[in-house]
């Protein structure tokens, strides 16, 4: 209530400043000198970046400095929930929301792939086959993000292009209760985006990575892991063809 009031107050107060308008017009009458000074300012420090007071840029820091650093879980939950809220205000349905979260996760995966490989003690080869890539995701990446490896990694029996990573207790959906009207929404869509970023970054095009909640033992509430989530990775046909070709070549 207070804000509209004060806004209304400013309304009638506006005319008085108009008396000072002639003063303001002075600079406008000679716009060229002022514009020149304004333009000259950015040119001058163009080369001089603004360094932090310690004179150390990000390039001077050790890349492994934050290797073992851990982030507070509360801070993560707070930011993540804000992120979902932000996305939620801009979407129409659950599918849209999951897509947005997925897209938010992709750049993360894209960056983590080289960083984590660089940090490993003996630099391993680039992942060029599907299995090493998925193992990287379930062990190195998962351990970096969640502090433990993923629970299982399976290949779909029905479709050779589909792989499934399952997590019994995903951190992302730990503090989230999904309202009934949002049905099958799964906050794991963000992690799915991270996985997609890693796969696409490594050159394994995917048709999509999706997160599905599967309460174990079909029991819903009664299951041992009510929050169990399966990340379904569907690779494109071209990736499988290449994989086959490589398998023959070796």
């Amino acid at each position: 209530m207070a804000t509209p009031h004060s806004l209304h107050h400013e309304g009638p107060q506006k005319p008085p400043p108009s008396t000072t308008l002639p003063l303001r017009q002075h600079p406008q009458q000679q716009p060229q000198p002022t514009q020149q000074t304004v333009q000259a300012l950015p040119v001058q420090p163009a080369t001089g970046l603004r360094y932090p007071s310690s004179k150390k840029t990000i390039y001077d820091r050790n890349i492994n400095r934050s290797k073992t650093a851990e982030l507070s879980r509360a801070a993560f939950a707070y930011l993540f929930i804000e992120m979902i809220g932000y996305a939620q205000r801009r979407v129409k349905g659950v599918a849209d929301l999951e897509k947005r979260l997925n897209e938010a996760g992709q750049p993360l995966g894209h960056r983590l792939l080289p960083l984590l490989l660089h940090r490993l003690p003996s630099p391993p080869p680039r992942p060029t086959r599907i299995l090493p890539l998925l193992q990287f995701i379930t062990t190195t990446l998962w351990r970096h993000l969640f502090g433990r490896p993923a629970d299982t990694l399976e290949r779909s029996a029905a479709n050779a292009a589909e792989y499934m990573i399952s997590d019994n207790e995903p951190l992302v959906s730990q503090y989230i209760s999904v309202p009934r009207e949002m049905g099958n929404f799964n906050a794991g869509a963000f992690v799915a985006g991270v996985i997609e970023g890693v796969c696409v970054g490594a050159g394994f095009e995917v048709e999509g990575v999706t997160a599905h909640g599967v309460a174990e033992q079909g029991g819903g509430e009664g299951g041992m892991w009510p929050g169990k989530t399966v990340f379904l990775i569907r690779f494109c046909a071209g990736v499988l063809e290449r994989e086959e070709g490589l398998g023959k070549g070796m």
Binding site: Y59, I63, P125, P127, T128, G201, A202
Partner: protein, 170 residues
């Protein structure tokens, strides 16, 4: 000995380019590409990308070593692939017939007489060192949340770091 270094993105677009000369064996670190063939550098590097595509799934190392040559300018191209398939390309052009300017990377052992040998261990190790150093800096550059996939790297600090790495290894 002159070098042309380029970072190539996913759409074969250059993200970063630099030119420098050797700093070893009395080199002053300035590139000396002959003006009549200097413009060829980008073409040569671009042509070498095809070979990278062929080898990148067979050879799972990041450092693919010397992968291509361009005999008319006697240039050699070395490549380093990051895990997310960004390509670092380094074109090396020894200067024939000018012993002072052509003192090479492998001046210690890889360089015999007038023939630059891109597969000499000393040369390969020098280039590997350079690539690894740039790789670390490149990760730091791309960790920036405002850096999008396949954006150009414009940071002068990054350029400075690349030049320092070149001075140190090449």
């Amino acid at each position: 000995m002159s070098y042309y270094f380029a970072i190539i993105g996913h759409h074969d677009n250059p993200l970063f380019e630099a030119e420098f000369g050797t700093s070893k064996s009395g080199g002053d670190g300035a590139s000396r590409f002959p003006p009549q063939t200097r413009y060829m550098n980008q073409f040569i590097v671009h042509a070498a990308l095809d070979i990278v595509c062929e080898t990148q799934w067979v050879n799972s190392a990041m450092y693919l070593k010397a992968i291509d040559t361009h005999p008319p300018t006697s240039s050699h191209v070395s490549c380093f692939l990051t895990p997310n398939n960004i390509r670092f390309m380094l074109l090396v052009q020894p200067h024939l017939g000018n012993p002072r300017a052509s003192s090479a990377v492998g001046g210690r052992s890889g360089y015999r007489g007038e023939v630059y040998n891109p597969t000499a261990p000393a040369t390969e190790e020098a280039i590997r060192g350079f690539f690894n150093e740039v790789f670390g800096d490149w990760i730091k550059a791309t960790m920036n949340p405002f850096y999008g996939r396949d954006d150009r790297i414009t940071s002068p600090v990054f350029r400075g770091r690349v030049m320092t790495a070149a001075k140190k290894f090449l």
